[in-house]
């Protein structure tokens, strides 16, 4: 074996073990690396309820109810399998709409999620308004977030 060959093998093997180690570590930490839990996670995995968590999903169609005080809003976070009712008091980001992604930070008590912070999650689609409308009309795409 030439010295260069030997160094190549050494570096190759070293890198391979590094990849294996990081894969194992990342898999082990899986639940701590997620930014939010989905309603399914909450219902099917035993997520501790009495600490602040983040839940994420879509704002359920037709679920937004604004209170008379003007700053309290009730809505449901859904992943189309389970939904969790949520309540929030405060200013909302522009992209907070029905059928649009949302991440809420707060606490789940007695089945109701009391959100302290609301973050809007936008999707990976970019297009002009006319295109979005025509796609919806032809039924090729259901689209998120009604305007």
């Amino acid at each position: 074996m030439t010295p260069a060959r030997r160094r190549l093998t050494f570096i190759g093997l070293g890198f391979l073990s590094l990849v294996v180690a990081s894969t194992l570590a990342l898999t082990a930490f899986e639940d701590n690396l997620v930014f939010f839990y989905s309603p399914t996670d909450i219902n099917e995995k035993s997520i501790i309820a009495d600490r602040p968590i983040r839940i994420g999903g879509l704002v359920k169609d037709g679920s937004i109810v604004k209170s008379n005080d003007g700053i309290t809003v009730r809505f449901e976070v859904t992943d189309l399998k389970y939904s969790i009712p949520a309540i929030y008091k405060g200013p909302l980001p522009d992209l907070f709409k029905e059928n649009q992604g949302v991440v809420a930070e707060g606490q789940l008590t007695e089945g109701i999620f009391r959100a302290k912070t609301i973050l809007a999650k936008h999707d990976e689609n970019y297009m002009p308004k006319e295109v979005a409308e025509s796609l919806r009309k032809t039924g090729k795409w259901k689209g998120t977030g009604k305007n």
């Binding site: 990849v19 990342l26 930014f35 936008h122 990976e124 689609n125 970019y126 006319e130």
Partner: protein, 238 residues
Amino acid sequence: MHKFANPAQFTRLANRVLPWTSFFAAICFIFGLYFSIFASPPDYQQGETVRIMYVHVPAAWMSLFTYTLMAVASASFLIWKHSLADIAARALAPVGASFTAITLITGALWGQPMWGTWWVWDARLTSVLILFFLYLGYMTLVNAFEDSEKGSKAGAVLALIGFVNIPIIKFSVDWWNTLHQPASLSRLDAPAIDPSMLVPLLLMALGFKLFLITILIIRMRTTLIEKRLQAKQLLKSG
């Protein structure tokens, strides 16, 4: 490949390539910016804010691409001891760090109006921040030794270890729940990006890539000249 490891060969090739890459980089930026700022439509949801994408996304791609080049150069320096590979890796680091900084800053400016926050510790944002520190760490490490050969070796090892982070950044949005949305371009089913927005994005991406090649050649050429000067001075004094 080994042919270009010769500095004289490299300089000859570099001098021939440089006018072209700088010219086309300028062309891409002029047209790319015109389309991004004036001639492309506002997004159906994000409105005018979407224009941040035309800088943010190419810068993010380049931050990964530059690191990948740096890791490849570091590996070939460690394996074949090409000094030109070391010069390339050292030349790439500050450029990559700048791309990453641009990504982080434009990302924050975009996150505030769209998500409602400048920063969150989700997997994508955090791994990109780590990338930024890897670049800084590399730059510090290669210059931390009296003997620059030692610095190059230590830096190259760090660059290779840090390369594990690159696939993590790329796939973070698929592996974990993140606030950051998944990739638009590697998706095959329509719609992800409308052609009217894709064209400026790709023009800008091409411009960024040509800019990297241009600046890399200039930086490497400067280092080579510097080394030749030092050698001459050593000869004179010795």
